[in-house]
């Protein structure tokens, strides 16, 4: 097992470089999980969706105060200084979904039955915009009915009526589907995991292969009394050991950060999924290690391969947000199937053979990718050897 031992030694020497990736990954995932939007709800009751808005109020009248209270049911008010650039920035970075300005004299004109409008700056055609519009129109259209049909109605009376009218809301029945917040977070975590995993394994393996592919070293090795198949197999073993250890470190730290959901069935499946993917990464790294000739080229190839695969298969951006034609291209890459499997796992609520089947198919595809990479690399090794 000389070759295997040497593999471990070389990797041990480079461990700090590889640990940098683990640390960066953990820091980023931790920051993201802290700031992640938790849209999924755990309870079974219906909750009003709230959206952030900025309300610039130039009036203080009972009508407007009533409006503000009504708006508070669907919106959270964000304080932003009333300066054009600050408002524009807040809208651009989606800190608010719209900015509503109630102009001076609005109430008076409204009570006189004149045609008045609130000023609004929003993201055109956005769904949150439609939602806020519905709320605004609901309040003022109902108010208009009173103003136009009850002569001499005072603001106080109007607000009293509106308060009573708007108090009742539709009863909503929820059919439980039971998506769990913790799993959604973990799903994101494991999707992101594909990037550092690929990077670490490719970097680690290629560093190793470069040393072994050194011409003099190679010639010396080939005159040793160990058969070349044996050397290759020990190499594969070294590769897999390295993969396993990196996988273990990352999964353990990943689970430590999300210790609440360790005992979920979903988590178990996510861990299995990442293991299957790690095997595939190992195959990719073996192939790259066999093809690339210089240390500088490794960094370049590593960046292009990992970023490329991760970007288009939904590691960074959710798969739903990626165009269908791009996803078609992505389906030729193992990362796509890995993310797909993870997303399916996160949605599972019952674990029977029937529900798990699609996940198992995805696993099989990933394993097939891994095997294909290994066999291509072994074939290449064989070919190169016959040249030397």
């Amino acid at each position: 097992m000389q070759v295997f031992k040497l593999c471990i030694k070389v990797i041990n020497k480079n461990k700090y470089l590889l640990l940098v990736y683990v640390v960066i990954f953990l820091v980023i995932s931790f920051t993201l999980s802290l700031t992640a939007v938790r849209e999924m709800e755990t309870s079974t009751s219906f909750k009003p969706a709230k959206t952030e808005i900025a309300l610039i109020n130039e009036e203080n009248t009972p009508l407007i105060n009533g409006f503000r209270a009504e708006l508070a049911k669907v919106a959270t008010f964000v304080d932003i200084p009333d300066e054009t650039e600050a408002l524009q920035d807040a809208l651009y970075f989606r800190q608010v979904s719209c900015i509503i300005r109630i102009p001076q004299g609005f109430t008076e004109k409204f009570m006189n039955g004149e045609n008045v409008q609130l000023g609004k700056i929003s993201i055109p055609n956005s769904i949150r915009n439609v939602y806020i519009d519905l709320c605004i129109d609901k309040y003022f259209n109902t108010a208009r009915l009173y103003v136009q049909n009850m002569n001499g109605i005072t603001q106080q009376e109007l607000v009293q009526y509106l308060k009573k009218d708007l108090y009742d809301t539709t009863s909503v029945e929820m059919i439980a589907k039971g998506e769990k917040t913790s799993v959604t977070n973990l799903n994101y975590f494991f999707n992101l995991f594909a990037y550092p995993m690929l990077s670490i394994i490719i970097l680690g393996m290629s560093t190793l292969m470069l040393i072994f592919n050194d011409k003099d070293l190679k010639m010396r090795n080939s005159c040793s009394p160990i058969s070349s198949t044996n050397i290759s197999m020990q190499f594969v073993l070294g590769n897999l050991t390295f993969t396993f250890v990196s996988w273990l470190i990352m999964v353990l730290s990943c689970l430590l950060l999300n210790f609440k959901s360790i005992f979920d069935f979903n988590t178990v499946f996510l861990v299995i999924s990442s293991f299957v993917f790690a095997f595939c990464c190992s195959g990719i790294s073996f192939l790259i290690g066999n093809l690339v000739k210089s240390k500088d080229a490794i960094t370049a190839v590593n960046n292009v391969v990992t970023l490329g695969m991760c970007f288009i298969s939904g590691v960074f951006v959710p798969q739903e947000a990626i165009g269908s034609s791009v996803l078609k291209i992505a389906s030729f890459m193992p990362t796509y199937w890995y993310v797909k499997a993870n997303n399916t796992i996160a949605k599972l609520t019952r674990f029977t053979l029937d529900t798990v089947k699609p996940v198992l198919y995805d696993f099989l595809i990933i394993i097939a990718f891994g095997l294909a990479f290994f066999s291509v690399s072994l074939a290449i090794r064989k070919k190169y050897r016959s040249y030397t």
């Binding site: 849209e39 009751s45 809208l91 439609v130 519009d133 059919i175 951006v317």
Partner: protein, 378 residues
Amino acid sequence: MFIHIFTYRLKCLLRDYEGIFWTMLFPLILATLFNMGFSNLNSAEMFNPINIAVVNNESYRQNQSFKQTLEKVSTGDDRLFNLSVVSREEADEMLKDNHIDGYIIAEQPIKLVVSRSGIKQNIIKSFIDNYMHTFSAISNILEKDPGKLQSLINDIESKVKYSKEVSVTNAEPDNVLIYFYTLIAMACFYGGFLGMGEVSDVQANIKPVAARINTAPVHKLKTFFYSSAASIIIHLTEMLILLAYLVFALKIDFGTKTSYVLLTTFIGSIAGFSFGAFISAIVKKYEGFKVAVIVSVTMLCCFLAGMMYQDMKYIVATKVPILSYLNPVNLLTDAFYALYYYDTLTRFFTNIVILTGFIIVFCSGTYLIIRRQKYASL
């Protein structure tokens, strides 16, 4: 002499494939990936008619006013819903298969059935609420004055829109753009590799080539300037190619002020080059170490400018505003952003002036460090 040094330097640089890869190909590849990955990001927040169903029972068929209202908001281009009228069982099935976001049972009172509480479900609820509230208001008014029935019917018919879009700018708040702007900024600062190379190549203790150049009977500063000119020309061309690729192939919107966009790219390129030269001059270590410093500083700056997580830019700008002025990558990103998004040029020029300040600091710093360097032995 200029032509000699310049042309040979140009040849050297063009044959350095690794350098070309990082300064030109890598940004191009990244731009393509950004485009593939983010192309649909904005459409997630766009409104599309919501798929709903209503249970086709006796009370729905009899409740003419509700039926009409529902049908009215489900027709036309700016409709709220895509409505299907089905049986209760079918509706249940559709909801389970995610074909609809909720279904309505038009009994007394009207009920909504959903499977999760999201914004779409809340819009459906808001619509039904609206209907109910109008009804409640009508009965209140009729209670006081039953003679108002006709005028009420007219008033309900004429729904008024109570908000008006008052756009402050022509540019849409398309927030995918920031990623591309930071990408150009990053590419500009990758020009730092070229700057680094120029300085290393006159430092005889770093490279054997530099040692040879130092023995040549040419003024060191002249050699440095002439070959730097070649580097800058190459980097500028690369940046123009990137810009052209973004504008013409990927159709990234840079607003209408084209000449200012070009000016920003030019200044960014110089800033990146001088940044690399400066780092190379103050870091007195081997080349790999210099590269590591340039990459990590650039990446940190890119992160703070929002390249990996765009809200970061806003967080920095509102929480630690001084940091957004001290980060050259952010200044560059912000200059593109200001050109695209603001009508006024104040913020753009603020960015450009500070960036020019950075260039002056980098250049004079580099000059003061590398001038009059002498080697006791080569």
